[in-house]
C-alpha cells in the first residue's frame, strides 16, 4: 500500500512529524507552523486533492487482501462496506477540491456569460446549481469596466473549482492578455476569429504555455473552417455565434448549426454555440452536436430565468 502512494503521502507525513517536533520544542512555534500549513493548503488546493485522489485508489489493494481471506460472501460485504465508506466521501471531497482546469470531451456544458455588474454576478452565482458542467464567464463589458478584477472576483464568488472563462476577446497583443487573464485565475481565455492569424497563433501558443483552454470566437467570421485551416495549432474550443448586437437588430440571421458537424468532422476541437435563451434552443444546439451552449445574462433580464435554465439543463441534457 505504501508503494502505491506517490511522494505526496510522505510529504504529508513529514509535515505531521515536523509539527510534533515543533510542538515539543515550543507550543507557539507549533501553532505558527499549523497556521503556515493551513495557508499553504488553502493556496494550493491541488496539493490536497491529488493526495485525496491517491487515497481513493486504496480500496483496490484492500479487496485483493480480502480475496485471500477465502470467505467469498464476507469479502463481498466488506468490499461493499469499504466502497461505501471510503470511496463515496472521498469522491465528494475530491470533486469539491479538484479543479477542472480543462474541459472534457463527451461532456455537455452550459456556459453562463455574466455581462451586467459584479453585484449581479454575485447574486446569480449564489443561485446557480453547483456542477462541473456549468462554466462561468466574465463577459467582455465586465472585463473592460472592472479590469482583471472582474475575473478574480468572479472566481472568488464561484464555488471552489468552478471553471472560469475570461471573455477578453483578444484582437492584438495576445501574449500580454493571456498572461493577465491566466494570472487572474481564468481557466480559459477568448480570442477573436477576425483577428490577424499571427495574433490567433500566438494566442493559442500562449494559452498552452499557461495551461488554460483557448477559445476562438468566430463572431462575424464567414467561414470558421477557413480560419482553422490557416492556424498552426488548433484551439481547444471554437465558438460560433451571431453577436449580441446582431441578434438584437437583425433577428433573421441563424446560428450556423450545419457548421458544427463540419468543424467537428475535420478538426479535433470542442464547439461552443452562443445564443441559447430557452431550454428548447439549448436542446437544439446540443442535439446538433454542440459541446458547449452559451447563455447570456443581460442586465435587463431577471436572474431567476438564467438559474432556471441552468437547472433544467442539468436535468434534461446529460
Amino acid at each position: 500500500m505504501q508503494t502505491q502512494k506517490p511522494q505526496k503521502f510522505n510529504l504529508i507525513g513529514l509535515i505531521i512529524v515536523a509539527l510534533f517536533i515543533a510542538f515539543s520544542i515550543n507550543p507557539i512555534l507549533g501553532g505558527v507552523l499549523i497556521v503556515a500549513t493551513i495557508i499553504f493548503i488553502a493556496k494550493n488546493p491541488k496539493f490536497l486533492s491529488s493526495y485525496l485522489s491517491a487515497l481513493q485508489k486504496t480500496p483496490q489493494p484492500q479487496s485483493d487482501l480480502d480475496k485471500n481471506n477465502s470467505i467469498a460472501s464476507f469479502s463481498s460485504i466488506q468490499n461493499l462496506l469499504v466502497k461505501s465508506r471510503m470511496v463515496i466521501p472521498n469522491q465528494m471531497i475530491s470533486t469539491s477540491l479538484f479543479k477542472p482546469t480543462r474541459l472534457e470531451k463527451r461532456k455537455k456544458y452550459l456556459h453562463v456569460a455574466l455581462n451586467s455588474t459584479l453585484e449581479e454576478a454575485r447574486e446569480i452565482i449564489s443561485q446557480l446549481p453547483v456542477s462541473d458542467r456549468i462554466l462561468i464567464e466574465a463577459g467582455t463589458p465586465l472585463i473592460k469596466i472592472y479590469g482583471t478584477e472582474a475575473v478574480s472576483q468572479i472566481k472568488e464568488m464561484a464555488p471552489t473549482g468552478a471553471y472560469i472563462v475570461a471573455d477578453n476577446k483578444c484582437a492584438d497583443l495576445a501574449t500580454r492578455e493571456v498572461e493577465m487573464m491566466a494570472n487572474a485565475g481564468a481557466n480559459a481565455a477568448t480570442c477573436l476569429g477576425v483577428a490577424p492569424i499571427e495574433t490567433i497563433d500566438r494566442f493559442i501558443e500562449e494559452c498552452q504555455k499557461f495551461n488554460i483552454d483557448s477559445m476562438i470566437d468566430m463572431m462575424n467570421v464567414d467561414s470558421a473552417l477557413s480560419v482553422l485551416k490557416k492556424l498552426k495549432k488548433l484551439p481547444n474550443v471554437v465558438m460560433l455565434h451571431r453577436g449580441v448586437d446582431e441578434t438584437e437588430f437583425s433577428k433573421e440571421k441563424q446560428i450556423p448549426y450545419y457548421q458544427i458537424k463540419q468543424i467537428k468532422g475535420n478538426y479535433d476541437v470542442l464547439v461552443a454555440v452562443a445564443g441559447g435563451d430557452t431550454i428548447r434552443e439549448v436542446q437544439r444546439a446540443t442535439f446538433n452536436d454542440a459541446d458547449i451552449v452559451v447563455v447570456w445574462k443581460n442586465f435587463y433580464q431577471a436572474s431567476a430565468e438564467t438559474v432556471q435554465l441552468a437547472e433544467s439543463f442539468l436535468k434534461e441534457i446529460k
Binding site: 455581462n115 463577459g139 467582455t140 463589458p141 472585463i143 473592460k144 469596466i145 472592472y146 479590469g147 482583471t148 478584477e149 472582474a150 477578453n168 476577446k169 484582437a171 492584438d172 497583443l173 495576445a174 500580454r176 492578455e177 493577465m180 477573436l192 477576425v194 483577428a195 490577424p196 499571427e198 495574433t199 500566438r202 463572431m219 462575424n220 451571431r242 453577436g243 449580441v244 448586437d245 446582431e246 438584437e248 437588430f249 437583425s250 442586465f299
Partner: protein, 222 residues
C-alpha cells in the same frame, strides 16, 4: 474635441499604472498630445485605469486632457461606451471587423455619450468598403496593422494611399495612423495627410527616455 486643422500625436500606454504615471509626468505639457489607454491596460484596470490617466494628464496640462479608450469593441458596444465616457474618456474605439450593426450602434452611442468615435481598421483590406456600409460616419478612422502581425511579418505596409481616398470621399473624417515608430515614419504619416500619428513602441521600450522622445516627435507636429 479635436481641432480639424491641427495635427496630433497619440501615445498609447500599455504598462502598469505606476509606470504610466511616471511616464506621463515626464511628458511635455502639450495639447497636441493625446493619451491612449491601450487595450491591455483597459482590460487590466478597467474604468479605474482610464480615470487615472485622465486625472494625471489633466493635472499635467492644466486643462481637461484628451484620453482615448482603446476598447476595440466587437459587440455590446453600448455598455462599454457608457462606462468609459463616465470614466472620463474623450474617445473610444470599435473594430471595423465587428458586425456593421455593432459599428452603427457604437457610433450612435458615442454621440449620445458626447465622445468621439474611432473605428479601428486593423486586419481590413479595404476600409473604404466598411465606411460605405455605415449609416453615419465615425469621427476618426484608424488605419493600422496589428502589433502581432507586424512582428511576424514585416513586409505588410501601412496603407498610406488609403488616407487620400478616404479623405477625398468623406471630407470630414479625421484619419489616425498607427504603426510607424521612427520620426521618419511620423513625418511620412503627416505628409500623407493623416491627422493623428499613434506611437507606442519606442516609449514602451525606453520608458526612461519618454521626455526626449516626446519632444522629438512633437517637433514634427505642426
Amino acid at each position: 474635441m479635436l481641432n480639424r486643422r491641427s495635427k496630433y500625436l497619440q501615445i498609447a500606454f500599455n504598462r502598469s499604472l505606476n509606470e504610466v504615471r511616471e511616464m506621463i509626468a515626464m511628458l511635455p505639457a502639450s495639447e497636441k498630445i493625446i493619451i491612449e489607454a491601450g487595450t491591455p491596460l483597459v482590460k487590466k484596470y478597467g474604468q479605474n485605469g482610464i480615470s487615472a490617466l485622465k486625472n494625471w494628464w489633466s493635472e499635467k496640462i492644466q486643462k481637461p486632457g484628451y484620453i482615448v479608450a482603446d476598447l476595440k469593441c466587437m459587440d455590446r458596444g453600448s455598455r462599454e461606451v457608457e462606462a468609459v465616457a463616465e470614466a472620463g474618456a474623450s474617445a473610444a474605439t470599435c473594430l471595423g471587423l465587428a458586425p456593421i450593426e455593432t459599428i452603427n450602434e457604437f457610433i450612435k452611442e458615442c454621440e449620445k455619450a458626447g465622445i468621439d468615435s474611432m473605428v479601428d481598421m486593423m486586419n481590413i483590406e479595404f476600409p473604404f468598403e466598411i465606411l460605405q456600409k455605415l449609416r453615419k460616419l465615425p469621427t476618426i478612422v484608424v488605419l493600422h496593422r496589428g502589433v502581432d502581425e507586424n512582428e511576424k511579418n514585416r513586409e505588410k505596409q501601412i496603407p498610406h494611399d488609403q488616407i487620400h481616398r478616404i479623405k477625398g470621399t468623406y471630407g470630414n473624417v479625421l484619419i489616425s495612423v498607427a504603426g510607424g515608430e521612427t520620426p521618419r515614419d511620423v513625418v511620412r504619416t503627416f505628409f500623407n495627410d493623416s491627422d493623428i500619428a499613434v506611437i507606442w513602441r519606442s516609449f514602451y521600450e525606453a520608458p526612461e527616455d519618454t521626455a526626449n522622445l516626446a519632444r522629438a516627435f512633437l517637433k514634427l507636429v505642426k
